[in-house]
């Protein structure tokens, strides 16, 4: 769970950084999109890097979901009779929403891939220019809303997930390291979610066009 999660953390950081290219306008963004496909050529074929990345992500996803399911399943079996009354004392909202938030994120990823990778769903109209597809999509308020909710879920998932991964890897054996891990979790969660949502927001309000 922790290791696969860490892969995602690295990925969303890169992805978020890439998305910021939208500030540069159509040319910069399209060049970035093209560059991703030619990255490490000719050592790798066209789109080779992307496929390697996709493979790693799919494997990580399978591992992550499998681990999550196993934990969920064990928890179900470990308490077949539920409490009539149960109060949470220490659990953060993020921690409580890990499982359903994870499912929501998975649904979102599917939607996101259908929109921008396979171009199966093309709200606002299809185009061969990645930048145009971007602006087309996010000009619609409901598309933006989906992304806003998703980024909120992502932030919560990262917030608990990063601290939890550090704990699982055995890096938080002191009060100080525990505080560091918690702060890091919150910081990355905020940076990633805000970094992701800013370009769509600017598109929605018409600053980026």
């Amino acid at each position: 769970m922790a290791v696969t999660g860490a892969i995602f953390v690295g990925y969303v950081l890169l992805h978020m950084y890439g998305n910021l290219m939208a500030f540069g306008g159509a040319d910069v963004y399209n060049t970035y999109a093209h560059h991703l496909r030619t990255f490490l050529m000719p050592m790798l074929p066209y789109q080779g890097f992307l496929w390697v990345l996709r493979l790693v992500l799919v494997l990580a996803l399978v591992g992550h979901v499998f681990a999550a399911f196993t934990l969920w399943n064990r928890a179900q079996k470990a308490r077949t009779t539920r409490y009539a009354v149960k109060k949470a004392v220490a659990a953060t909202l993020s921690a409580k929403w890990m499982r359903w938030g994870g499912v929501a994120l998975l649904a979102f990823v599917v939607f996101h891939l259908l929109e921008f990778t396979t171009r199966t769903i093309t709200p606002g109209g299809d185009s061969d220019s990645p930048f145009t597809r971007l602006t087309n999509g996010f000009s619609l308020w409901w598309v933006f809303l989906i992304y806003l909710v998703a980024m909120f879920a992502l932030a919560m998932h990262l917030h608990h997930g990063i601290w939890s991964a550090a704990q699982t890897l055995g890096w938080t054996s002191s009060a100080l390291s525990r505080r560091v891990a918690k702060t890091l979790g919150l910081t990355i969660a905020l940076v990633v979610s805000v970094g992701f949502i800013v370009p769509p927001f600017l598109i929605l309000v018409g600053v980026i066009k």
């Binding site: 196993t70 934990l71 064990r74 928890a75 079996k77 470990a78 308490r79 077949t80 009779t81 539920r82 409490y83 009539a84 009354v85 149960k86 109060k87 949470a88 004392v89 220490a90 659990a91 921690a95 409580k96 890990m98 608990h160 601290w163 939890s164 550090a166 704990q167 699982t168 890897l169 055995g170 890096w171 938080t172 054996s173 002191s174 009060a175 390291s177 525990r178």
Partner: protein, 248 residues
Amino acid sequence: MNFTLKIWRQASQRDQGQFVTYRIDEISDDMSFLEMLDLLNEQLIAKSEDPVAFDSDCREGICGMCGLMISGQAHGPEVTTTCQLHMRSFTSGDTITIEPWRADPFPVLKDLIVDRSAFDRIIQAGGYISVNTGAAPEAHSVPVPKPNADRAFDAATCIGCGACVAACPNASGMLFMAAKVTHLGELPQGQPERASRVLSMVTQHDHEGFGGCTNIGECSAACPKEIPLDVISTLNGDLRRAMQHKPS
């Protein structure tokens, strides 16, 4: 003070249980929670009704025998054991729901009593230092740095009550196990068996049917001895190193 008590009644492990509601009056705020139940039982016996079975022994918060889920919180609203909880922590007129620890590795034996022998079996798996009586070297031959000794002590204060399991949304026994791994792992005497200890204990823990840890922190918040979550990280670190260097 007076209260409405919703208490889980279950005749035995084989029987189905259900909540039964009782009224209790004239409770003084100096009474402990268990003394309030004692009084209820006296009243039940007077009416020839079966008294409520619950565990307790030392009643000074150290033996770990008592443990009730009180209105959704393990050991009730204070950070202490059930036996050290007093009625002044409640408001007269409250409805209090009393349940046994709920976890399948802790089957209910009767009413509010559960079987926690799974914890003993986890200790049997490796929660000790192998030294036969008489084989010990002179106590001062191995100095222990004070910070290590102090941390070992903090972890060793675990009373094995099971509140961590009861409070954990996953019903995981991680805090209990990690407290022991940290206690012994902080001491020089515990080093030779450090890797094998954590591997065997975790294997036994999983085999008993406890859930996995997702680092939510309910265990530590419910722990009457306030054992911190960092012991779980210590266990995880030990486990990772033990798996990396697993002897073939």
